[in-house]
């Protein structure tokens, strides 16, 4: 497996929507390289014949009756929002100005 470098971390930080300073990128790249190195044996642990487990105790087709249950009011849903306008979440511009 490939090692993780500073450019990778910068790319991942963009994907994860976390702004990072140059100093932070340097430090994070160093720390993550150590962590990634320590987990690399995992890829060699299991052969192709071993199935993956996503949930420890799998349940399938968990349905409920298709009836209206408890719903939050718009006011309750917006109660923790940093900004709201006329019963809606107010969001910064979705598109760039230019």
């Amino acid at each position: 497996m490939a090692a993780i470098n500073r450019d990778d971390v910068a790319h991942l930080a963009r994907l994860a929507h976390i702004e990072m300073s140059a100093e932070e990128l340097d430090r994070m790249a160093g720390e993550l390289a150590v962590i990634v190195d320590s987990v690399k044996s995992v890829s060699e642990a299991a052969g192709d014949d071993v199935p993956a487990t996503s949930h420890p105790i799998p349940l399938t087709n968990v349905f409920r009756e298709d009836v209206v249950g408890h719903t939050f009011t718009a006011e309750q849903s917006l109660s923790g929002a940093p900004d709201a306008y006329e019963g809606r979440f107010k969001v910064p511009a979705i598109l760039d100005e230019d």
Partner: protein, 526 residues
Amino acid sequence: MTENNVLIRLSAAALAEKLAAGEVTSVEVTQAYLDRIAAVDGGPRGVHAFLHVNTEEALAVAAEVDAIRAAGGAAAEELHELAGVPIAVKDLIVTIGQPTTAGSKILEGWHSPYDATVVKRLRDAKMPILGKTNLDEFAMGSSTEHSAYGPTRNPWDLDRIPGGSGGGSAAAVAAFEAPLALGTDTGGSIRQPGAVTGTVGVKPTYGSVSRYGAIAMASSLDQIGPVSRTVLDSALLHQVIGGHDPHDSTSLPDPLEDLVAAARTGNVDGMKIGIIKELHGEGYQAGVENRFNESLELLKQAGAEIVEVSCPNFKYALGAYYLIMPSEASSNLAKFDGVRYGLRVLPKDAPLTIERVMGATRAAGFGDEVKRRIILGTYALSAGYYDAYYGSAQKVRTLIQRDFEAAFAQADVLISPTAPTTAFKLGEKLNDPLAMYLNDVATIPANMAGVPGLSLPGGLADEDGLPVGIQLLAPARQDARLYRVGAVLESLLEAKWGGPLLDRAPELAASAVEPVETLVDAQEAK
């Protein structure tokens, strides 16, 4: 000892009996705990187990219980066994009427519009909620030092960590600031703090306690469970919070076993108890190993057969955990986007697009450990790496489940130390993420396989006089076995010690106003 000091040291079971017999009121009990919190939790050398204290509501619920008891009749008869017994709740679990921060700045001041299912069940049982306890940010850590609101201190030594992520819940119970608490356990966050604070903590079978209203870190690993000072108290609380919940699609439909009866009728005669070869010995502190061997000897004397089992794939568990957990966490934490709840930070310069607002909000709102795990998870899930990382880790999960299956074919329960060391000093491992991760080496396999685990105090390590935890593991849906064996081991150990381990913890000085050293100095001067 003052009357209140006696009261706060009683077990939840003993308090429940006194309340039912009318020997004490819930208001008296709740006030005694609130007074204790005021005395030892604040100040620069306070325990700092609580992020929020819920005085008014707790006393109102206590008064309601007292009024129902005083009136008598059917309503009093129907009161839950634990009605009026106060409890603290880890601040990862949402509550109406109190803030929920998850230990993060990104949720500072946020109030949930709904109660977690476990909180609703506490309210149905009329248990006064004393407040919300401190944790590593979003439950990511093993020391509570990653809380954005400052670390919790270990009541056994205020310069040491109380474990994590649920250090607040464990320290609150250890410092007699609450008889009971709720925790959450993703890789050991209930059991490891229990071990290092000399308290009891249980991670139930995955899906047997609803996760609805627990702010998710890794959804396939997270589990809410009880924190207490005795095995029976954990069983009593487990019985309140457990059972099916339609709000959680991973909630097991099975009816809950009688865990309280299991704790009350503990018996190990003829039981097979398996030592996991890979979870002791090298890498474990000598004092931890000694206390572990002592517990094995006591169980053997009580009629249990000790066998050795091998779980060869456990050596991959930590690595696989640190791929699966961050992967799920990076996805779960994407919802903190500065739009729907919590913090919004605007970038210093234009353009103020949502992408840039998200970037600035998450940069300011998340701490280092949360950022590390989000980046690691994003990496493990990215195109080209998915099969090698996340895919491989999921296969390891299958291998760990097979190891458990083979082990439980040879033993009824498994036993190991809960953590490789006793409590370390605050700051000691803060700048070495990998060293911090190693604290969870013995607790992680249970989360990976979904099996239940219990940690109980096993005594004090010879070299440092700090608590050691003993971990019991049972097959999925067999949580009752943990209580059956745990109760026996607890009574054998307490008979040996001449009382509960926490009786040997140092008395905490009132620290709300002055640093502890000042108070101690003043007392010595007298």
